[in-house]
Amino acid sequence: MAPLVRALVVVLALGLVFGMGVHYDSQYTQQWPYPSTDAIEAADDEHVGQTVFVFGTVEQVDETANSAQILVGSSDGTFGLTVVGFDAAVRPGGVVQVVGRLEPDATIDARAVRVVNPAGSSTLYKYGVSLVGAALVTVLVLRHWRIDVRTLSFEVRRDG
């Protein structure tokens, strides 16, 4: 395969990924079976009584009242929600998933709360470990394959 054809296929693949990115984002709200965070933020009363599913960063937990304040992302940034029936062990800065019924005053009566990150430091751990993984796989690939810039291809390292 000529380098030009190879480059064209790579560009096509990138174009396909971009096209999927556009299509996915434009269709996501219709396909997601719950009201979007934008819809909850814009007119939460309209969706009162409906089941919602949100990801949120914990701001404050009131263990005695079994409630928490969470920040949820939207197109315009973030907005706050109160979660009652909050029974998860998580510190401020942690991330949770909440499924429950939307109540008036931006409140969710939680049916299920699952902890994604128990604390803000969990994110750092996650990305740190991922960086190690990226370095490992890069080193291993380059140990067995070399990049031939002239032909725009990977060649087997004979000493690999």
Binding site: L16, V17, V22, S26, F53, G133, V137, V141, F154
Partner: protein
């Protein structure tokens, strides 16, 4: 999704024991599967260049999420495999295998409503059920992957026929 280290270790753990049986399954192909396992993690590009930046530049809605779906893995695999010249078909197979192991692993992580994300996109808009086995930040997942990879590595190196 599971962390990138866990993703790349899974194909190593799965394929290395097979290489003891099949001589054609050499390390150079196993590392390609490991590289393929990293494809869904390309969504983390969004940490560097936010999707909203792409939207403001192009004027179109945009999400990196398809990179962690079957369609995204197939497209990136195709783009990578053509860089492998005469062995591109074989490279495609191993890179894709790695990507699929990561999608399968991610399909088992926790979702509060018991359904995973749309990882079969664009072939179907469906959220398959998930056993909700783990969360990404759970260090036990990485520990299990490291222990399994360490065991496989030691066994591989202790084999008299190993390269």
């Amino acid at each position: 999704m599971a962390d990138l280290l866990t993703h790349v270790l899974v194909p190593f753990v799965l394929l290395t024991p097979l290489s003891w049986r099949f001589r054609w399954l050499t390390d150079r192909w196993i590392v390609l599967a490991m590289a393929g396992a990293a494809i869904p993690d390309l969504v983390k590009v969004g940490l560097v260049v936010d999707g909203r930046v792409i939207e403001s530049i192009t004027g179109l809605p945009f999400s990196y999420a398809p990179l962690a779906t079957l369609g995204g893995v197939l497209a990136v695999t195709a783009g990578l495999a053509v860089l492998f010249g005469d062995v591109r078909r074989r490279a495609f197979g191993y890179i894709l295998l790695g990507g699929l192991t990561s999608l399968a692993l991610d399909g088992m992580r926790v979702f509060a409503d018991g359904h995973a994300n749309f990882w079969l996109y664009p072939f179907v808009w469906w959220r398959p059920p998930t056993p909700s086995l783990y969360v990404t930040s759970d260090p036990r997942v990485t520990a299990v992957a490291l222990a399994a990879a360490g065991l496989v590595f030691v066994l591989d190196r202790s084999r008299p026929t190993s390269e």
